[in-house]
């Protein structure tokens, strides 16, 4: 080989950073010389691939394969996969205020949430009661994190979610919750930008949250244990009435947060959930949230509710409302006594089905049941 064609790259600094320049100009090649040059280049790659890895961008030869499970590339800060929710490490308070911005903007409509209410007053508080994201349909666009005014929802770096069950990819709030320190670790500079404003807003929100509402479920136990400890240390205090009513399991907590009537909540919550946390369980919860939202909407327009049933329901909320209204009409006809019984009987039926392939059907069933229940309760309340 007479011509050395592969000169070492030189780094040139530009305003936007360094650029590697490789001089590929070569003298005129005689017959066959180009072939030999090609062979030379390939052999150099072969030789170097046996001995070294490709590490620097200036390096042109060497193995660039990353043996994935064993070796991983460092992910860039801006890498995004699925959204997560943040909570404060110390207080356990979630940053989310249940503003519904993310739910609205989500293009595939996979975010669902219910706002928490003050159990004593029934007034909504700036905290989220339940938060579900369907990871299996999420397209990782990151719009939710973009719009979140409280920096409560962020994009995670974790990407190994492969499973053979679709339903297992509907994630609830407990699974979505991450401490701020976790996010600070994976994206330090991003968090540093928003840290101050986010914490300030959180402080404001925390003031409006009574008791443990808006605290991450993981932290609830801890806090409660701490309180119990301190209470045991002082005396059996009448301070906490709610803990008695709230069972240990998540579904019960969800129901507790969701229910407006405190006395009814405990009974319903104990009847509704099933023993295992099957997908159907989660789906049921999702349906519950939806139904709750729909019910909330009917709060605002109960008199208008029958109207959409006549026309073509174009929007999801309207459809839900229509189902709910229909069910409510049925239930109100049957009477207030029977109102709670059929949902309780119906709800377990889909969940015990061992092959829940038709998610939509299940969802609709649960949703309808819950909506009917809520509507009945609401009707009772409003008629009375």
């Amino acid at each position: 080989m007479t011509t050395e064609i592969q000169t070492e790259p030189t780094e040139v600094q530009t305003t936007r950073g360094g650029v590697y320049v490789i001089d590929r100009s070569r003298p005129r090649l005689r017959a066959g010389q180009g072939l030999l040059t090609g062979l030379d280049v390939v052999f150099r790659h072969f030789r170097d691939a046996l001995t070294r890895k490709l590490e620097k961008p200036s390096q042109q030869t060497g193995v660039f394969t990353v043996q994935y499970p064993e070796e991983r590339l460092k992910l860039p800060e801006a890498f995004r996969n699925f959204p997560i929710l943040l909570y404060d490490d110390e207080t356990g308070h979630e940053l989310c205020t249940s503003c519904f911005q993310c739910q609205r903007i989500c293009p595939p409509q996979v975010i669902h949430m219910t706002q928490a209410r003050d159990p004593s007053t029934g007034k909504p508080v700036p905290a989220v009661a339940e938060f579900l994201i369907e990871y299996d349909a999420c397209m990782s666009c990151g719009l939710c994190a973009e719009v979140c005014p409280f920096d409560a929802i962020k994009m995670d770096h974790e990407f190994e979610y492969s499973t053979d069950v679709h339903g297992g990819l509907t994630i609830n709030k407990e699974a979505l919750n991450r401490p701020i320190s976790y996010y600070e670790k994976i994206a330090p500079s991003f968090w540093a930008e928003v840290k101050d404003s986010a914490m300030k807003k959180l402080q404001g929100n925390m003031k409006r949250r009574p008791d443990l509402i808006g605290v991450a479920p993981q932290m609830v136990e801890k806090i409660r244990a701490k309180r119990a400890e301190s209470a045991a240390a002082q005396a059996p205090a009448p301070a906490s009435a709610t803990p008695d009513a709230a069972p240990a399991d998540k579904a019960a907590r969800l129901a507790a947060a969701r229910a407006r009537a405190a006395e009814k909540t405990a009974a319903e919550a104990s009847a509704e959930p099933v023993s295992e946390s099957t997908p159907a369980d989660k789906a049921a919860r999702l349906a519950a949230i939806r139904a709750a939202n729909a019910a909330k909407k009917t709060d605002e327009g109960a008199t208008e509710a029958p109207a959409p049933t006549g026309g073509a329901p174009t929007d999801k909320a309207a459809r839900l409302a229509a189902i709910r209204a229909a069910n409510a009409a049925k239930k109100s006809a049957e009477g207030a006594d029977a109102a709670s019984a059929p949902p309780a009987a119906e709800a377990p039926a889909p969940t015990t089905g061992d092959a829940p392939t038709d998610k939509a059907a299940r969802l609709a069933a649960i949703r309808a049941a819950n909506a009917a229940k809520k509507a009945a309760a609401q009707n009772d309340g409003s008629e009375e």
Binding site: A31, G32, L35, L39, V41, V42, H45, F46, L54, T65
Partner: protein
């Protein structure tokens, strides 16, 4: 092999049974050898090409991915064998067999080591050429029997390529025939003893004092045919070191690439153009048969190239060990077999290397290359080879009294011959390359403008 069996079994069986068993045994060994090499070649190709592309290649199945071919084979065995409904059933079925059988038959005459020769055929070179030409029929059958236009196109391309490149290949092998004075492959490694460039022409001055580890007995050497003499032997007198052999080797190797459908010439199965050529309609074991045929063909052609030009099993130490006699002969045979295998693998590595480096040719370029470049070079090389033989072996009587080299020592004659042939070959190569140069930019621009207007 027959003798060994005879000594083992003795008179227990009739003689023809022993012969039959020996033949079957040798066939089995050779085929296993070839198939084992095939498996290693598949693995090596994937690994080496991967390294050339800065990848790692298969490394999950078995240590360093060694069991990957086995896994592939299992997959191939268990795949469904699909025959298109409109295909010609029998032709479609027979095609892979017809293309594999001749390739396997080629292995019969190659000397795998010193004394390890399956069959001594006195027209072995012609036999190999003839038998390799038969596989073209198999390809044609595959293309036609599939009743698929891509398959037919691929088969036509394959056969046209095979037929075209057979001519330079045979012409390049003719130089070997001229140099060796015969077509037997067994003699070739023995003839390529000696030292590089000079061959077995440096004679022992003192017959008594020559070390048997350095000198070997040569019977036919230039100057005094027939009389055995002692010549310096390092086992490196390969013909590729002479100008004639070098040019012949280059031409033959390129033609072998084309015959084996290796990468710059893999036009018949150009997957970006005609799906997979004649193999389009094949799956499962039949496809695997084509695959095996192709790799064993590469293996056999590499072995042939090594035997014809690179000294075959010849290498340093073989003759010395063989001269020691007794069990050392078997050690020499093993060493020689290793040498041949090493040469084959070096050639196969070059094939992979070319695959890693070069893009596929176009059909017209392929034909141009064969007819305008390789064939003239090979023809010139024949002239050179004749001159080489004449200069090193003829007496002045055979030159018609015009050129008398009788008084020269063999090495002097060899030196003269090498100089003359080197000049001829270099001049011819330069000339042929220069007249085949692509037109300069101005010329073709003009031509194209004429066409465009």
């Amino acid at each position: 092999m027959t003798d060994i069996l005879r000594s083992w079994i003795g008179g227990a069986l009739p003689d023809w049974v022993i012969v039959l068993i020996a033949y079957l045994l040798v066939t089995t060994i050779v085929l296993f050898y070839a198939v084992g090499n095939f498996i290693m070649m598949v693995w090596a190709e994937r690994r080496v090409v991967a390294r050339m592309q800065d990848r790692l290649g298969p490394n999950r199945v078995g240590p360093a991915g060694l069991l990957q071919p086995i896994a592939d084979a299992v997959k191939m065995f268990t795949k469904e064998d699909i025959v298109p409904r409109s295909a010609d059933q029998w032709v479609h079925l027979l095609a892979p067999i017809v293309s594999l059988a001749p390739v396997a038959m080629m292995l019969a005459v190659i000397p795998w080591g010193r004394g390890w020769e399956p069959i001594d055929l006195n027209v072995a070179l012609l036999y190999i050429v003839a038998v390799s030409a038969v596989s073209g029929v198999g390809l044609m059958m595959a293309g036609w029997g599939s009743n698929n236009k891509f398959a037919l196109l691929g088969a036509m391309r394959a056969v046209a390529q095979l037929v075209s490149y057979e001519i330079p290949a045979v012409t390049a092998l003719l130089t070997v025939v001229i140099l060796a004075g015969g077509m037997s492959l067994l003699e070739l490694p023995y003839m390529q003893a000696g030292v590089p460039l000079m061959g077995a022409t440096i004679l022992c001055g003192d017959a008594a004092g020559c070390s048997p580890s350095l000198y070997t007995t040569v019977t036919s050497f230039p100057g005094s045919p027939g009389e055995p003499v002692q010549a310096l032997d390092l086992g490196l007198g390969w013909w590729v070191f002479t100008p004639v052999g070098l040019l012949g080797f280059i031409v033959f190797f390129i033609a072998a690439l084309a015959e084996g459908e290796r990468t710059p010439f893999d036009i018949p199965e150009a997957d970006s153009e005609i799906v997979a050529g004649y193999m389009t309609e094949y799956s499962g074991m039949k496809f695997a048969t084509f695959y095996i045929a192709q790799y064993i063909l590469n293996f056999a052609l590499s072995a042939l190239a090594a035997t014809a030009f690179l000294g075959g099993w010849q290498g340093p130490g073989v003759a010395a060990l063989a001269n020691m006699g007794g069990p050392w002969v078997h050690v020499a045979a093993a060493l020689s077999a290793f040498y041949l295998l090493a040469k084959i693998w070096v050639l196969f590595f070059v094939m992979i290397w070319l695959r890693g480096a070069f893009p596929r040719l176009r059909v017209d370029q392929l034909m141009d290359f064969a007819w305008k470049l390789l064939l003239p070079l090979a023809l010139v090389n024949i002239v050179s080879a004749s001159l080489m033989v004449g200069l090193t072996q003829w007496t002045s009587a055979q030159w018609g009294g015009l050129l008398s080299l009788d008084g020269f020592a063999p090495w002097q004659r060899q030196l003269i011959a090498i100089l003359v042939t080197a000049i001829i070959n270099i001049a011819a190569a330069y000339w042929i390359l220069s007249i085949n140069q692509r037109p300069t930019q101005e010329e073709w621009i003009e031509e194209e403008l004429v066409v465009a207007s």
